[in-house]
């Protein structure tokens, strides 16, 4: 029996409505318990903040595109290395950390679960190979469906149920967790080097529109009873004026909503929240987008917060990455994946002095501060697109302290500063709100009921930060907060101390969650038959060699859901 007691911590556990209460926490055999015996190991957490382990809903940490980024950028690794120790493997950062380093750096910040939000199904075996080698944290990955030939054909033919069964088959085949949609239809068009910008443009050769793809997959998500909403990277990303596309995208599924449960998540809105009609007059569409989010319960968002400095952009949005290459003149990788999706990679430096970059920085923060209900928005940098995940502590200080963001505002491009509403926003996050946007809200959104809270029976994933909530005023002492969040006093994973004072002390392997929707046998039978008829026409691999076996995952956790079909 493995027992642990956290004494006298100041606990923030929003899902259980605990906000800054001084209390003890009992842990037995990896889960939160009622009480523990006198033999339990005791950690004195007095004068420290205790939260559930962090849960990152959108961070590119594994798979073919991440690894292409690594291969592209030796100059990124050279400046940031991790030496081998008796318990940790060697590795590199900076914006594209190696697998081991990724696990360690999350654990040091008190994060214990992370989602890879874009895996090309055909290459998902690769994603799992890397996830297998990311220590400590729990993981999941979202397969890409927004440009999938079978999906577009089923939807075009109105075969919603067969399409649902196909996606169930694909989730099982890829051991995926949720339906990810990137630039619906637009990446297929990019297969021909063409662009598709508006929701009602037709996808070449497929006679279907992004709107139809989005609505179809949103319905299917509901039919399958998926734990997470459809996770959407909108069309027209990175183009001035695209905040309208974002609002249109949110709205195009509005009438599919029921029961107030969010049915669509719009990710890294910073890239799709631009007003204006040229790079000279872009502005922040965050107020309009926040207003829509505040008025609708079917949608959640995350900012993909920009961090000034050097990073590596990588998305499944091939056409956008080419655009970014043209804008920046930086080196460019493109990888189109047959019948499914694409990917692009471009190194990028966000500059304070650059008008557009400064506006992008502002959009993320405005969104975080203008969306009133913290359960509707999650903290991300869309790692590494806005900046590396290691910048989260800095972002939190911007949310908690007007002074902290004021210091940056004073240094950004002055036209951008004039253009932004940010200087006039006084809101400062509380620790409870921080806990919501970094763990409670994200776990809830992912449907991981045993994560993101500290109730009896929850996974004992806990972060302890050396912040005295009574004496520390985050608005003023934001440097104290930043340092404490960067190096958790304790990070506990399944009841085991994995990091202490920012140093990794144990490297267990976390689990990989995947969702297995159960559709009726007849429907699945009929679908796989029609699938196998076409499979070899579409793919250069055999259908028998496509699926990833569950045994291939080092530590899988299957979540079975009952579909309506």
């Amino acid at each position: 029996m493995n027992e642990l007691q956290l004494r006298n911590g100041t606990v923030f556990d929003p899902l259980n409505r605990i906000s800054g209460e001084r209390m003890d926490l009992a842990i037995r055999d990896g889960t939160i318990a009622e009480a523990v015996s006198s033999k339990a190991m005791v950690i004195d957490a007095s004068g420290m903040i205790v939260m559930p382990g962090g849960v990152d809903i959108h961070s590119h940490i594994a798979g073919s595109k991440v690894n292409s980024g690594r291969i592209l950028r030796p100059e990124d690794h050279e400046k940031d290395v991790e030496e081998r120790t008796s318990i940790t493997r060697a590795g590199v950062g900076y914006s594209i950390p190696s697998t081991f380093t990724t696990g360690y750096r999350y654990a040091r910040m008190g994060y214990t679960s992370v989602v890879e939000p874009a895996t090309p199904p055909l290459k998902t075996r690769h994603t799992h190979e890397e996830l297998n080698q990311i220590p400590i944290i729990d993981k999941a990955c979202f397969p890409l469906f927004g440009n999938n030939w079978f999906v577009m054909e089923y939807l075009k033919e109105g075969k919603l149920e067969e399409c649902a069964a196909y996606i169930a088959w694909m989730l099982k085949a890829t051991k995926g967790y949720a339906i990810k949609i990137v630039d619906p239809g637009g990446v297929e068009a990019w297969g021909w080097g063409r662009y598709l910008k508006r929701l009602d443009d037709e996808v070449p050769h497929f006679a279907i529109t992004p709107r139809e793809i989005l609505r179809g997959l949103c319905k299917i998500n509901k039919l399958l009873g998926m734990p997470h909403a459809i996770h959407v990277h909108t069309n027209n990303l990175g183009n001035p004026g695209n905040y309208l596309t974002t609002i249109e995208t949110m709205d195009c599924v509005a009438n599919l909503a029921s029961s107030g449960k969010p049915i669509i998540h719009i990710t890294h809105v910073q890239f799709t929240g631009l007003t204006g009609n040229s790079w000279l007059n872009v502005g922040s569409g965050a107020p309009e987008i926040a207003d829509y989010v505040n008025k609708h319960d079917h949608v959640t968002v995350d900012p993909g917060q920009v961090i000034f400095g050097d990073t590596t952009t990588m998305t499944a949005d091939g056409p956008f990455q080419f655009l970014l290459h043209k804008l920046s003149g930086n080196k460019w990788v493109n990888v189109d994946v047959e019948g499914e999706t694409g990917a692009g990679i471009v190194p990028f430096r966000y500059r304070r002095s650059n008008y557009v970059n400064a506006v992008q920085w502002g959009i993320g923060l405005e969104l975080m501060l203008l969306v009133k209900n913290p359960w509707k928005i999650y903290l991300t940098t869309d790692h590494p697109n806005g900046g590396p995940f290691t910048s989260y502590p800095k972002v939190v200080t911007w949310l908690m302290s007007k002074g902290a963001r004021g210091r940056v505002l004073a240094k950004i491009n002055k036209n951008a500063r004039r253009r932004l509403d940010l200087p006039g926003i006084d809101r400062e996050y509380t620790f409870e709100e921080v806990a919501i946007v970094t763990r409670a809200g994200t776990s809830k959104s992912l449907g991981l009921s045993q994560k993101g809270h500290l109730g009896i029976g929850a996974d004992a994933d806990v972060a302890v930060y050396n912040i005295d909530a009574n004496s520390v005023d985050p608005s003023r002492d934001y440097e104290v907060v930043r340092k404490a969040l960067a190096k958790a006093a304790y990070t506990i994973k399944n009841g085991k101390i994995v990091a202490k004072d920012g140093e990794v002390v144990a490297t267990p392997i976390g689990t990989t969650y995947w969702v297995d929707p159960k559709v009726s046998n007849d429907l699945m039978q009929q679908t796989t038959t029609s699938l196998s008829a076409k499979f070899e026409d579409y793919y250069t691999v055999r259908m028998a060699n496509y699926p990833v076996e569950e045994s291939y995952l080092k530590s899988p956790t299957r979540i079975e859901v009952l579909a309506e079909v």
């Binding site: 594994a62 073919s64 991440v66 690894n67 292409s68 690594r70 291969i71 592209l72 030796p74 100059e75 990124d76 690794h77 050279e78 290395v81 991790e82 030496e83 081998r84 008796s86 318990i87 493997r89 060697a90 590795g91 590199v92 950390p97 190696s98 697998t99 081991f100 055909l122 290459k123 075996r125 690769h126 190979e129 890397e130 080698q133 297969g191 021909w192 080097g193 080419f322 290459h325 080196k331 460019w332 990788v333 493109n334 990888v335 189109d336 994946v337 047959e338 019948g339 990679i345 471009v346 026409d537 579409y538 793919y539 250069t540 691999v541 055999r542 028998a544 060699n545 076996e549 291939y552």
Partner: protein
């Protein structure tokens, strides 16, 4: 007599990783293979010849059999005591084995390099500077109306590449050869060139000039010289036109580019040309990777260390700089003091200046076969074949990842690279006194 047929087996010869083989087995022997090329057939029917059966140690001029445990013990102490060991090979084994290899290199503070270094290393160095516009092979099959093979000869080296993935394949938007144009650039009229709509004979070592001229022609339409690399300017401009006006084009390139004068800069020029073409149409490029898992060796090494090959752990963290930390250079300079070779035959393929040093330091080789490298080794440990005698993950040249199957039992007592490397890792860890 036990007879079985295995469907959809993955071929473990070249970077095409064809996954539709039908293998007939009688009494644990492969008796026939369908859907394979002649080389693959030859491999599946002959892999069992010249096999190593037991671990051996060099003693007074010859080899003597030793126990597996002793081979592991001696290997571990060679690696643990070395100041700058090199761990080389890795392209003919599974990702699972390579993962252990990288950890071993890290543990012993050595250099891990894979055969990329002498095939497409320059391609990767080119990518560091320029990037790469690429795709999976299915994209080519479905969309390509222009295919260029440059400095490679698939008819001989990748026999099914053209029929499965490119000019002759049947795709969604291209029905076959008649819907596509084939251009071949080479220093001589290869058997691939004989099938081309346009064959361009480039002067030896002048690919960079030709690529550069093509880019100029694509960019400005004209060039202030009458002939480049032995090719008339009119021809250069004609090919440029062809490239600009196709709907979806791709360049497949081989060692003709990576090994000739300019090496990584030939690739730089090719990548830059393709990037240029994307301002006018859709164009992609892909190296013709040779061994069935050389791509996997790059992938595994990259996700564990950040770098795809030639990784130096001597200071306890990964460092990378081909020329300094790459196998041929280290050996030719005589800078390593021990070596472990896994599933590769550098003594055959490295310039003598490099293989000479390799054969003079304590050398351990893990391989299924007797090869010049095993003949030059001090310790030899026999291993089984990935994709024949044990399953394992491999990467196709386009990064599509496949799990190969076990088809037959390995010879009695012969272990897999994974098991052998794990044993070495375990023992070396003990010797190093690391927890």
């Amino acid at each position: 007599m036990v007879e079985k047929t295995i469907q959809d087996a993955v071929c473990t010869f070249c970077g095409c990783c064809c996954d539709n083989l039908e293998v007939k087995i009688k009494d644990e022997k492969i008796v026939s293979v369908r859907n394979s090329c002649a080389i693959s057939m030859s491999k599946f029917l002959n892999y069992d010849r010249e096999r190593l059966s037991t671990p051996m140690e060099r003693k007074n001029g010859g080899f003597e059999e030793i126990k597996f445990e002793d081979a592991i013990e001696k290997t571990a102490s060679i690696l643990a005591n070395a100041k700058y060991p090199i761990l080389y090979g890795w392209s003919l084994t599974s990702c699972e084995a390579i993962e252990i290899g990288v950890e071993l290199a890290e543990l012993v503070g050595g250099v891990i390099d894979n055969t990329t270094t002498t095939c497409h290393g320059p391609s990767i160095i080119g990518v560091h500077d320029i990037g790469e516009s690429s795709c999976t092979l299915g994209e080519v099959r479905h969309r390509a109306d222009l295919v260029v093979y440059w400095g490679c000869n698939p008819v001989h080296a990748h026999p099914l590449h053209m029929s499965r993935y490119s000019v002759q394949s049947k795709g969604r938007f291209r029905k076959g050869r008649k819907d596509r144009k084939l251009v071949v650039v080479d220093v001589r009229k290869t058997d691939t060139a004989k099938q081309a709509d346009h064959f361009i004979q480039v002067a030896p070592n002048q690919d960079y000039e030709l690529l550069s001229a093509l880019r100029t022609a694509v960019k400005m339409g004209e060039i202030e010289q009458d002939s480049i690399a032995g090719v008339p300017v009119e021809t250069v401009e004609e090919i440029a036109e062809l490239m600009i006006n196709c709907e979806f084009g791709i360049i497949f390139y081989g060692l003709g580019l990576t090994m000739s004068a300019g090496k990584s800069r030939n690739i730089d020029a090719a990548l830059s040309l393709v990037r240029e073409l994307n301002n006018k149409t859709k164009f992609l490029i892909m190296p013709m990777r040779g061994h069935f898992n050389v791509t996997g060796a790059n992938q595994v090494t990259a996700w564990q260390t950040g770098y795809p090959f030639a990784v130096d752990f001597s200071k306890g963290y990964p460092r990378y700089n081909p020329g300094d930390t790459s196998a041929v250079d280290i050996l030719a300079r005589g800078e390593c003091d021990a070596a472990l070779v896994v599933a590769s035959d550098p003594v055959s393929n490295f310039p003598i200046a490099a293989s000479r040093h390799l054969s003079r330091v304590p050398l351990v080789t893990i391989d299924p076969h007797v090869t010049p490298t095993t003949l030059a080794s001090d310790i030899v440990i026999p291993s089984s074949f990935v994709g024949i005698e044990r399953p394992g993950t491999v990467y196709r040249m386009d990064g599509v990842v496949l799990l190969t199957r076990k088809l037959v039992e390995p010879p009695k007592g012969v272990k897999s690279d994974e098991d052998i490397l794990s044993a070495i890792l375990r023992r070396t860890t003990e010797l190093k006194g690391v927890a």
